[in-house]
């Protein structure tokens, strides 16, 4: 295992310290907890947004703490849902009186831990609502699973619900907007190489020199199947087809696209992928209102990417284009 770390046990702590040192204008630490909140938290008169999850997805989620997006981010151990007490501290630190929306990715652990935190915060009289993001179409929707995973589409929830909260909307309204994003966002990913959880010290799976894992999650968990690495265009086509088959995006509709790198894939390759994705949408006469391309929701050093498509209506579009000022996403 080759990593730029000091100690696998300390990596989350040291990362958080490094993040606060890098972004003091944006974030501060809730003393004693793995929680970063806006430097000016709690912001009064505004619904607050808290997200979080296991670490290893940087810049998710602390990178989105700032004006127009999140108010707080909770960092679990690498790929491990944060514990309820941590989430609870985040909620307390950001509540400005209008309540707190929890943005949770659909994993059993995340849901249970955030729910326990909700119970704790509600006992304090804090209004808490939650949404669960489940954008990954790789996993067939069936009653046989715990539902779909939440992956890069979560960033669109942060962006749009965050912008809604800045308008002064109340908790129910912000939650409703977040749910609209979730209803309209679909993603799928694939990997060329595995990643290594620092504390585990070895890859959670291995791929042969010519193998790709399709339908990867973002925790090094296996995908839906393996195949021989295909040209970028074919790979993009496969993912986009799965995504489009699962949403009602018609000619004339507008969409936002995210080409998300998983951590070890160069931007050059993401642009090559985007070329095909954009062409496929253009063919279907779907207008791309905005493209996000880069590392938004990563999986440590994994090589690979995901594509996310968000169907826009006028509300979502306006909120997507609203200003944001956070460490990882700044938008005029």
């Amino acid at each position: 295992m080759k990593k730029l770390i000091n100690n696998a046990e300390q990596v989350v702590e040291e990362m958080l310290q490094g993040a606060v040192l890098a972004h003091p204008q944006y974030v501060k630490r809730v003393e004693g907890f793995n929680v970063l909140v806006r430097a000016n938290s709690p912001v009064q008169g505004k619904v607050a947004l808290v997200s979080g999850g296991g670490s290893g997805h940087e810049p998710s989620h602390a990178g989105y703490v700032g004006r127009g997006m999140l108010d707080g981010a909770v960092a679990g151990a690498v790929f491990t849902s944060p514990t309820p007490d941590q989430v609870y501290e985040a909620v307390k630190a950001v509540d400005g009186g209008k309540g707190v929306l929890l943005v949770i990715k659909n994993y059993t652990g995340d849901i249970m831990n955030f729910e326990m935190a909700t119970e704790m915060a509600e006992a304090d009289g804090i209004k808490v609502a939650k949404v669960v993001v489940n954008d990954d179409v790789a996993v067939e929707n069936s009653t046989w699973t715990t539902g779909r995973r939440g992956i890069a589409g979560t960033v669109f929830v942060h962006k749009i619900a965050g912008a809604k909260a800045e308008t002064g909307a109340d908790l129910a309204e912000v939650q409703k907007t977040a749910e609209k994003v979730i209803a309209n966002v679909r993603s799928m990913g694939m990997a060329l190489s595995p990643c290594i959880v620092p504390a585990a010290g070895k890859p959670s799976f291995t791929l042969a020199e010519n193998e790709a894992e399709i339908g990867m999650g973002i925790h090094g968990e296996p995908g839906t199947h393996r195949e021989t690495v295909r040209p970028a265009d074919e790979t993009a086509e496969h993912l986009v087809n799965k995504i489009l088959a699962d949403m009602s995006l018609d000619a004339g509709d507008e969409a936002a696209v995210m080409i998300n790198g998983l951590g070890g894939t160069p931007l050059m390759e993401l642009y090559v992928i985007n070329r095909k994705v954009a062409a496929m949408l253009a063919e279907r006469n779907i207008k791309i209102a905005k493209t996000y391309i880069g590392n938004y929701m990563t999986s440590l050093e994994m090589a690979g990417f995901s594509v996310t498509v968000l169907k826009l209506d006028s509300e979502l579009k306006e909120l997507l284009f609203a200003q944001a000022d956070t460490p990882a996403l700044v938008q005029f």
Binding site: F79, S81, T83, Y107, T145, T146
Partner: protein
């Protein structure tokens, strides 16, 4: 009291000894952290109990459960944490654990896990070790066996439950995303449940000999 703490230390020991194995099991169909998470949690429990021992069994179990909840994370944290807290309630006020109390604790633990996790037996989770263990324990009790023998029966049943998880598709937890690909693999959480029962049984055996 020292005995409950010693029993929990036995759990810590077996979890630490199997940290890598549990992580490897989780790597195959999950996200390669179960052993790491459990080890972190039980190390914290151990440290906590070493400094702030409680004065009854319920107190020790509750403190352990709270610590697991605030240190394990993931799916296992809330589940095992809740199980300990429910066991604490069932053992409230007790100073020794007899077979009846143990059965009540067992039942409470399962209830807590099912409530939190919304899973049932057969979904390739820790419940596939824990429920058969509970049933074997109850049956042993009904047949008049003593606590140690009941624990032995429970551990055996849990072991079989672990084997059984290899034969089924996961429909809860992270492995459920794998569908058919989860077949043939042993569930990490069921394994940690089995290991803890085994450790508890070994502890009880040693304790009963010493007593």
């Amino acid at each position: 009291m020292a005995n409950v703490i010693a029993a929990i230390d036995a759990l810590t020991e077996i979890i630490l000894a199997n940290k890598e194995k549990l992580t490897e099991l989780d790597a195959a169909i999950g996200d390669a952290d179960h052993g790491i998470n459990m080890a972190r949690g039980f190390e914290a429990v151990h440290a906590k109990l070493a400094t702030a021992g409680s004065d009854d069994i319920g107190g020790v179990l509750k403190m352990s459960g709270m610590t697991l909840i605030s240190t394990v994370g993931g799916a296992a944290g809330p589940l095992y944490g809740t199980a300990f807290i429910r066991m604490a309630a069932a053992a409230q006020g007790k100073t020794t654990i007899d077979t009846e109390t143990a059965e009540a604790m067992f039942e409470a633990a399962i209830g807590g896990i099912k409530e939190r996790g919304k899973a049932v037996r057969g979904e390739k989770t820790m419940l596939d070790a824990l429920e058969p263990a509970y049933e074997a324990f109850s049956q042993g009790m009904a047949e008049g066996e003593d606590l140690l023998r009941c624990l032995e029966l429970a551990t055996d049943a849990a072991g079989k439950g672990v084997e059984y998880t290899k034969t089924i598709i996961a429909t809860k937890g992270r492995a459920s995303y794998l569908g058919e690909r989860s077949l043939g693999h042993q569930d990490a959480g069921a394994t940690s449940t089995y290991l803890m029962l085994a450790a508890l049984t070994a502890f009880a055996k040693k304790y009963s000999r010493e007593a």
